[in-house]
Amino acid sequence: MSIIGLIQSLSLITFNGIKPNFVLAVLVILIFSEKKFLRYAILVLTAMICLDYSAFISKEVAIFGILMLSAFYFKKYLSENIFLYSFLFTSILTTVFYLLIDPGFIFNDFNLFFLELFYNVSTSSIFGFLYQIGYEKK
């Protein structure tokens, strides 16, 4: 989780200047796979520490953490098919996150928002696929 967080915080992987939200994509799959909230919460906190881009209190990272922690309680309402689940959950969480921190970004920079959404859903599906391979081998 810390590696993923650092990759995002240091912007090591970008596509045409757009940073996919790897942390969100991985956490979405972890919500699906992890049954204990405490273990999941520790991973969310680790991600938040790695994401914090400055020494200031970062409102965005705090909101991101709270959103990801609350998302854990909504997993029971979503599909058990990991691909449908990751698509829906990633889309909803990305949209809600930007609605909370900067709604103007969605409306004024819709192209950017849509591309990030696309990258997030793709990343989350890849991680979902990897999880499924691992799960089937067990």
């Binding site: 942390v23 020494a55 200031f56 991101f64 921190i101 900067d102 691992g134």
Partner: protein
Amino acid sequence: MIFIRFGAIIILLVMLCNNNLIYIKDLFSSSLNTKNEIARLELENDSLRSELYIAENLSGKEIGESKWDYLYAKIFSSYPFNNQNLLSIANGEISGVQMDQSVVIAPGILLGQIIKVNKNISLVRTVFDKDFIAAVKIGENKVDALLKGGVPPTLEMIEKNKDIKNGDIVYNADPKYPYGFKLGETQIVETKNADTAGLFKRAILKTDYNLTSLESVLVIKNFETLKN
């Protein structure tokens, strides 16, 4: 366990394929030094051209070329989401960094402005941030335009009858930043801009650097903006 291993392999592959970490691949080839040298020389060339422009156009020409006092600052990390494009640098009040100071990639090449400072770290708003706005001039004809930050930054409000072309150099003309500092070059000039009913032209600003591969910047310590 398998999930983690696969994940690690995928991440490494993506990183290797990505331009930002191209140097990992280059470690195994002899072209690394040549590439770095070319990039350095290009930046130096840009910087010199920009300084020449400043020297030719500033009213106070008697001021020597060492007019600006630069502070070298390492980039700490970047804002992790897409709605803003900020960098945090590892220098703050202790090093003399103050609010609104201009930040450059190399002497004469403007990157952004300090928007927050604490003791050891400062935040820089870059030209790729949607809240970055500056009045600029384009090319030898000094055509006026408004630079709007974003991915990519755009040049707007360019008068329809003014002649600009791809590759024209874009210089700062905003009092918030040092006059004449280069921001980039024009690319893809759109003559039909529906947003302004075709009254103005629009272009994209192309920068010579990749923000994600930057490791350090320079803060101009002795430039003060006009305060209301």
